[in-house]
């Protein structure tokens, strides 16, 4: 009986290693600076994590399906610039769906290339990273994009508004996370995503349309990126062309921290959310401690490796890798 319970605790640890690591970080930072765990700070961290977080939700699908998406950063810049530009031209009510359509069209292009043409996703999305950046620069003429009338637009609600005392970006993040979490864990589409990422050949042999599944993952990723762009644009009502630059790696780091394997077939939305929060709180915590940004780099390095290591060590039941 005793062994059974200890085994159970072991499994729980293994399953929730990343969560435990998260709690440990929170405690550590709170000791270092009591302001860390104040409601204001928590809200502010979660709110600024929301943009990264919404993008990470979509990328989780892509990664589980066994692919990568490095284009989300420059795609987010694109959607931000586009929606800001269109806001003044056709009004927010039309600008938002138009921007979603354009962003999703880009996602569809990637989905076509990776899903149907079976091209390597790392290179395709790397190429798209560059191409979309060029597209954005061409679109904007390189200029910052700003809404003319910043006070008089309801568009600011997505980034600056709040309901029940909770900022709208957080609400959007939570709602999307819940929705996509259900899609991934409870629907047949989600099951197919896992199957395609786990073993694409076996999935095909089981009658799953692999190309379509991958295609849809990129569509979802693009839709998430568009949402992130919307929040971003609404938050500052103006933006530069590079607003999302570099986010692709942060997003990936968050998804990985959440325990998704880059080989595909594993990961969950819940864990990705934890991964996003870990990154957000680490950055914020170190800032509050007052460490130089480059010390943050080093600390993030250590934490990423430690967190992932402990996570997989718990799963395999051994600290050290079995690699000879």
């Amino acid at each position: 009986m005793a062994t059974l319970t200890s085994q159970k605790i072991g499994t729980i640890l293994a399953k929730q290693g990343i969560l435990i690591a998260f709690v440990a970080f929170l405690i550590g930072f709170t000791i270092a600076n009591p302001k860390f765990l104040t409601p204001d700070n928590i809200l502010s961290v979660v709110r600024s994590s929301a943009i990264l977080g919404v993008m990470a939700l979509g990328v989780t699908f892509v990664v589980i399906s066994g692919n990568l998406d490095l284009s989300v950063g420059s795609m987010m810049s694109f959607s931000t610039i586009v929606v800001l530009d269109l806001h003044d031209k056709i009004g927010p009510a039309l600008a938002i769906p138009a921007m979603f359509a354009m962003t999703i069209a880009l996602g569809a292009l990637i989905g076509l290339l990776v899903g149907y043409l079976k091209l390597n996703s790392l290179i395709v999305t790397l190429g798209m990273l560059s191409a979309i950046h060029g597209l954005t620069l061409t679109y904007s003429g390189g200029k910052n994009m700003d809404i003319a009338d910043k006070e008089g637009t309801w568009f600011s609600v997505f980034g600056q508004g709040s309901a029940l005392g909770i900022p709208v970006p957080i609400l959007l993040f939570i709602a999307l996370a819940a929705l996509l979490g259900l899609v991934l864990s409870k629907t047949s589409f989600g099951r197919k995503v896992y199957a395609v990422g786990g073993n694409g050949t076996a999935a095909t042999f089981s009658g799953i349309r692999r190309a379509r599944t991958v295609f849809l993952c990129y569509i979802m990723s693009a839709a998430c990126v568009a949402t992130a762009g919307l929040i971003q644009a609404s938050r500052s009502l103006g933006s530069q062309n590079t607003v999302g630059q570099g986010l692709e790696l942060e997003v990936l780091a968050a998804v990985i921290l959440g325990g998704a394997s880059l080989l595909g077939g594993s990961g969950t939305i819940f864990k990705t959310v934890i991964g996003v929060l870990i990154l957000g709180f680490i950055q914020n915590g170190l800032l509050l401690i007052g460490l130089q940004f480059y010390v943050q780099f080093v600390v993030t390095w250590v934490i990423i490796i430690l967190a992932v290591w402990l996570d997989i060590a718990a799963k395999r039941g051994k600290l050290w890798s079995p690699i000879a």
């Binding site: 502010s44 390189g142 910052n144 938050r235 500052s236 933006s239 530069q240 590079t242 607003v243 800032l287």
Partner: protein, 297 residues
């Protein structure tokens, strides 16, 4: 080139990174097109020294008449500049200067004086504190540009050296980079606001970041903070007009680009040039902004 056209090559620092640089590139091309004696090759190093050096070599190989360089690193490009010099191609440095060791190989520098800009921002801030009567207690946070960029470094040092001279009792409580990025700067400011209950002034390396910081303060409901930036962007100008943002440094990429092109043309025409061609970058605050037109970028 007996036809009298001058072929001028330019290698810029990192055009995509902010609208200053993009506006510069556009203005440069426009100025060149307006002058039918001039043809230009416009290159962008994408922030990568190796690529910039390769572009210098390419321009030398293409036998252009003059080269304008916006250095990614004021020292690393010196040997490449020397090569151009040895090939008898005059080199004009634009926007941020190269190190002294390379001065012998350079015809002229044209651009803003970033150290002075930083110093002027310090003065703007100090004057405002004095007006408010808080020059003996004020606490300032500092948001710098992209780490490693000469412009970021020079402005930061100009500011941090000058502030204690004019306002010895003002303290700079924290410094973090905002990477020339409005969103990043907003996040940095959010953390500052949590960390420090009393912030009286924010200096940011450009207005883009300054507005990010302003947004954070507005969202947190913190009022009375004095925002001072540099490189007055359109957003900064508007925020000033709205009375939310105190001051900045007026610097036009159009002037910057035109000055660089003109310096190159003058050099090719054999005119006498001062070695340092600073164009003026005046202070702009809510008080005197009427004297300036709204920036185009």
């Amino acid at each position: 080139d007996g036809h009298g056209t001058m072929k001028i090559g330019i290698t810029q620092n990192n055009v995509g990174v902010d609208s200053y640089q993009t506006t510069y590139e556009k203005a440069f091309i426009e100025a060149a097109e307006a002058n039918d004696k001039v043809e230009v090759v416009v290159l962008d190093a994408g922030g990568d020294v190796a690529r910039q050096i390769a572009q210098m070599e390419d321009l030398i190989q293409q036998e252009v008449d003059a080269i304008i360089i916006w250095p990614t690193n004021g020292e690393a490009v010196i040997p490449a500049v020397r090569k151009a010099h040895q090939a008898d191609i005059p080199v004009i440095v634009t926007n941020s200067n190269i190190a002294e060791a390379g001065f012998d190989f350079v015809k002229s520098f044209s651009g803003p004086d970033n150290v002075t800009q930083g110093a002027r921002s310090a003065e703007i801030m100090c004057d405002k504190f004095k007006d408010m009567g808080i020059e003996n207690e004020a606490q300032v946070v500092h948001i710098t540009g992209q780490p490693g960029y000469t412009t970021a470094i020079e402005r930061a040092s100009g500011f941090e050296d000058r502030l204690p001279e004019v306002c010895p009792n003002v303290t700079i409580v924290d410094t973090q980079p905002g990477d020339w990025n409005r969103e990043k700067s907003q996040q940095v400011m959010e953390a500052f606001l949590v960390k420090y209950d009393d912030i009286d002034g924010v200096y940011s390396g450009d207005d883009n970041m300054g507005v990010g910081a302003l947004n954070a303060a507005k969202a947190a409901g913190r009022e009375g903070i004095i925002f001072v930036g540099a490189t007055n962007f359109a957003v900064g100008y508007e925020a000033m007009a709205a009375g939310e943002y105190w001051g900045s440094i007026y610097q036009s990429p159009v002037d910057d680009a035109k000055a660089a092109l003109k310096t190159a043309i003058d050099a090719l025409n054999g005119e006498d040039l001062p070695f340092l061609n600073y164009f003026d970058t005046p202070k702009i605050t809510q008080d005197n902004m009427g004297e300036f037109t709204k920036p185009v970028f």
